[in-house]
């Protein structure tokens, strides 16, 4: 028995305090969405499907559409740019790894509002070159998700001897493209999946950069709608949280499926 481990009672107290910390705001929001005058009803939830309210909620649907496009583009950036770079650093430039790691983890320590100051002039140029479509925000999001995606992918890279696997594949006649797509990627599957899902969650939750660069995304739309219909904003917030939870559970299952297979 590990004598440093907290006792059963202490563990429960910690679980309850932490659980309450997360649960109380969400439960409050949930109760709020059921409020109907002095009583409770599902009227605010039903309003989502009410044709009369469609115009009022239009910003949210538009913002959600933009956010989903942004999430998809960001995931593509992670999979096409970050993952191959990490593999390259691991296989060919291992001495650059610590420098690369600190660079990639940097965005977590830079507040979004500071990032925006630097991004604003860059987006003027991007606007001229590529237009001002909401999807261009993905370049900024590609930076903000770096730390999260990096950790998820690196954990997978460290768990597999990709150096020997790629050398074996090369000796069998595989070119680098085949090595990456058919040998390395399948073995990093759980890490790539986790990185993608975390990126989606981060992008759907991002507000500061979109707001300051005047782009309409899910979170900025929520703020707009809140001013006219606070109930609807709460309902959408809960739905977004539920979606993020579902993503996290999928990430967890993906990780567990892998270790389960290894044990059999």
């Amino acid at each position: 028995m590990n004598r440093l481990a907290p006792s059963r009672a202490v563990r429960w107290i910690i679980a309850i305090v932490v659980g309450a910390f997360f649960a109380i705001p969400m439960l409050s929001t949930l109760l709020y969405t059921f409020r109907d005058g002095d009583g409770f009803s599902l009227v605010h939830w039903a309003a989502l499907l009410d044709p009369a309210k469609t115009a009022a909620y239009a910003p949210i649907w538009a913002g959600l559409g933009n956010s989903l496009v942004l999430a998809a583009v960001t995931v593509v950036l992670v999979l096409v740019l970050l993952a191959p770079t990490m593999i390259l650093v691991h296989l060919r430039f291992p001495r650059m790894r610590s420098a690369f790691e600190s660079l990639v983890l940097l965005p977590i320590s830079i507040p979004a509002i500071v990032l925006v100051v630097g991004l604003a002039p860059i987006y003027q140029q991007i606007g001229r070159a590529l237009g001002t479509g909401a999807w261009t925000l993905a370049f900024a999001y590609g930076i903000t998700v770096l730390p999260f995606a990096y950790r998820a992918i690196q954990a997978s890279i460290d768990a597999v001897d990709i150096r020997t696997l790629s050398e074996a594949a090369r000796s069998l006649g595989a070119g680098w493209g085949t090595v990456v797509l058919r040998v390395i990627a399948p073995n990093l599957r759980s890490g790539l999946l986790a990185a993608s899902l975390i990126s989606v969650a981060v992008v759907l939750g991002e507000f500061t950069i979109a707001s300051l660069l005047n782009r309409q995304v899910f979170q900025t739309a929520l703020v707009v709608v809140k001013n006219s219909d606070a109930y609807a904003a709460s309902v959408f917030t809960l739905l977004a949280l539920a979606f993020a939870f579902a993503l996290l559970i999928v990430i967890g299952l993906a990780g567990r499926a892998r270790t389960g297979k290894d044990r059999s």
Partner: protein, 366 residues
């Protein structure tokens, strides 16, 4: 330099023309003046080595002697700073690994974890554009060669270490490569599996007639399977020869110390002979004069009832068909004696030993 895509060189396959059938398709392998540096450290000092078609050559040496680097240069996984590697008379120094048409088995387990055994084995064939059904059939052939066709649908993590290395061997051989490279493939395995697989590799190699380069630090392994052994030391080949040549007449004290078991005893050299305990022995190799240390093989020392030199038994180990006994002579030298198991000796027994008058290696006494 031609960079045409690799083709599987196999003829249309029939029962007679299968992986199991034909031998004698080996390719000549040449290292010419290979120099390799890691930073400021030179790990290969102009390595020259010529390997005949179908030959099994071991690179033997302690860790850090450059043997693995030499193999990796041959595979194209490392680039030499000078010199050339020739396969079948063609300089392949500029050819990338995946176009060298080699088969390689690694020290660490290298099967692709996400592919079944049969798909692992067929990997190289699919890279050579062999049709899927045909690739599967030939993969099963190759698995049969290593006795594992019944495990074709397993995943690598469901196999033992020895089985994984067997599959790796089948995977390396199935494309009928020009040369088979073995990078300490046995060192992760336990002793019994190691000997089995070692002998199996040699059996298959002889059957297929494939040129093979085997890197190992285990002299017993190298002696058991090789046509020739190149003993490497600090980035150079100290001696290359058949196992018998290396064992009987090591060219340098380094080779004598590394190949086989030897005792070091003091002697006085006088040109072509050396005197040990009043007994004159011929020196194998260059003439030496002065105080030397003499390498004595256990099987060249015997227990005698009269003559020889007196010694005290330190320990005696029963090894089945013979005994190996460590004795200490009165002047303090420790000598290993290999003798019949029926000659029982025990700790602290006083015995007399004599050395057979066979050529010995010597080195100057420090």
């Amino acid at each position: 330099m031609t960079t045409a895509p690799l083709t599987a060189r196999a003829l249309p396959r029939t029962a007679e023309n299968s992986l199991l059938a034909d031998a004698g398709t080996g390719t000549r392998v040449e290292f010419r003046g290979i120099v390799k540096d890691y930073g400021a450290t030179r790990v290969l000092h102009g390595l020259d080595l010529d390997i005949a078609p179908g030959e099994f050559v071991s690179l033997l040496g302690p860790s850090g002697c450059g043997k693995t680097t030499a193999l990796r240069v041959l595979a194209g996984l490392e680039h030499a700073h000078a010199g050339a590697v020739l396969l079948g008379g063609t300089d392949v120094s500029a050819v990338p690994t995946n176009r060298r048409d080699i088969g390689m088995v690694f020290q660490s387990y290298s099967l692709f974890p996400h592919l079944r055994v049969v798909d692992n084995t067929a990997f190289g064939l699919l890279r050579r554009k062999v049709a899927r059904a045909e690739a599967r059939r030939r993969a099963l052939d190759a698995l049969a060669l290593v006795g594992l066709d019944h495990l074709a649908d397993r995943f690598p993590h469901q196999l033992s270490g020895g089985q994984q290395q067997r599959v790796a061997l089948a995977r390396a051989l199935v494309t009928e490569p020009r040369v088979l490279l073995l990078d300490e493939p046995l060192s992760a395995l336990d002793a019994k599996v190691r000997v089995q697989l070692r002998d199996e590799i040699r059996r298959i190699q002889l059957r297929l007639g494939i040129t093979t380069v085997f890197v190992t630090h285990d002299q017993e392994e190298a002696l058991a399977v090789s046509d020739r052994i190149a003993v490497m030391q600090a980035g150079r080949i100290e001696q290359i020869g058949t196992p018998e040549e290396l064992y009987r007449s090591p060219a340098t004290p380094g080779v004598a110390a590394f190949v086989g078991l030897s005792s070091l005893v003091p002697g006085v050299a006088d040109g072509a002979t050396v005197t040990v305990w009043g007994q004159s022995l011929p020196i194998g190799g260059d003439a030496v004069t002065g105080d030397v240390e003499v390498f004595i093989r256990p099987e060249n020392v015997r227990l005698v009832s009269a003559g020889g030199v007196e010694a005290i038994v330190q320990e005696s180990t029963f090894l089945g068909s013979f005994r190996r006994t460590l004795v200490r002579t009165l002047d303090g030298a420790m000598v290993r004696v290999q003798h019949a198991a029926s000659e029982r000796v025990e700790y602290d027994d006083r015995v007399r030993i004599a050395i057979d008058p066979v050529p010995v290696s010597v080195r100057p006494r420090a």
